[in-house]
Amino acid sequence: MSTRATETGQPGGTHDSGVQSLPANPRPEETERQDGPQSAAAAVRPWEEERKVLEQTLADLRTEQQQFLERYVGLEEQNSALTTLYVACQSLHSSLDRPQILLIAREIIANLIGCEEYVLFGVGPDGWLDQVDSFGLDPDAYKKIPPGAGIIGRAVTTGEICQNEEGGSGATELESNLTVCIPLKHNGAVTGAIALFRLLPQKFEIQNLDRELFRLLETHLAHALYCSELEQSAGAKNGVGA
């Protein structure tokens, strides 16, 4: 921050007493009348200097204001992202009922990511991907996926989130509208995958927050589904719901 005019002792500054000081020199027009143009120019100089200092102070304040504004916008975005992640996490762990968890997963994908075409797979004992849930697509087309097939298979094999890059290779015919495939991992092992197809029309691209949500789903949805299975088997053992 530059030195303010009041701190420089320039004309127009303020004394410690808080009383507005007067310029040390007489007003330029008075000087011109008395001593001619040269004296007038000399009289104007302190005013010019003060004007420059004030202009610099104003420019510094504007820069600082812009920096605060940018920081505020950044914090708002961060706050919004954290809220979204909190809501997703809180919702996923709010139930042990499997149909309820599947509904919540569907809501997160639709409301927080912005996609209404998806398939959720579980890894079967034979290594094939079996459809667990789907929305917005023909469910019969995605009943079973062989191990390692296409982008979905690659996500499961590598345990990495795989995006369907434009012009990229390896997509099967069924994956032409696929946007991204997220493997579901429990204790490091891949237990399933979520294939997200077309995003909503107003959603043009995958953003950083979406990537955070993918990572959250990767583990938290897998955990939630695992817990629901435990709950189901415990309920069956105890004869609940029989």
């Binding site: 706050n79 979204t84 809501v87 919702s91 709010s94 997160i108 639709a110 409301n111 927080l112 029309p201």
Partner: protein
């Protein structure tokens, strides 16, 4: 000065939680919740909220129908309504405006955008009543 009442209407628990989280930090909002259009109309008549944020696709009664019903009542027709739509295409937005909504936001909801629209509509309402 009394808190502003905002009625949030959505059948999705996740969407409602998201909206509540966005608006909860605003100390001057009192939040009321409804899970479908029918309940929204009933709560609007009973609570007379200062503003309504309502999903479009809901069971029992859609947000569009609820919007029309709220606009058809003398003592609720002035309440600002923001529709939350999944589809942001012009034809869908047009249907929303035709039903009487004041503004709309698209999913996924952007917190800053929703707050700005709520504050704009509320301050516009205050200026009208002044």
């Amino acid at each position: 000065m009394r808190n502003k009442k905002v009625l949030l209407v959505d059948d999705s628990t996740t969407a409602l939680l998201m909206e509540q989280m966005i608006l909860r930090n605003r100390a001057d909002f009192e939040l009321i919740v409804a899970r479908d259009g029918q309940e929204a109309v009933e709560k609007t008549l009973a609570e007379l909220p200062d503003l309504i944020v309502m999903d479009v696709v809901m069971p029992r009664m859609t947000g569009i129908e609820a919007c029309k019903q709220i606009r058809s009542q003398d003592h609720t027709r002035h309440i600002p309504i923001i529709l939350v739509t999944t589809r942001g295409e012009p034809e869908n937005v047009e249907i929303g405006y035709a039903s009487g909504c004041n503004d709309y936001v698209t999913k996924p909801i952007n917190g800053a955008e929703l707050i700005t629209k709520i504050e704009d509509l509320m301050s516009a309402g205050e200026e009208t009543t002044r």
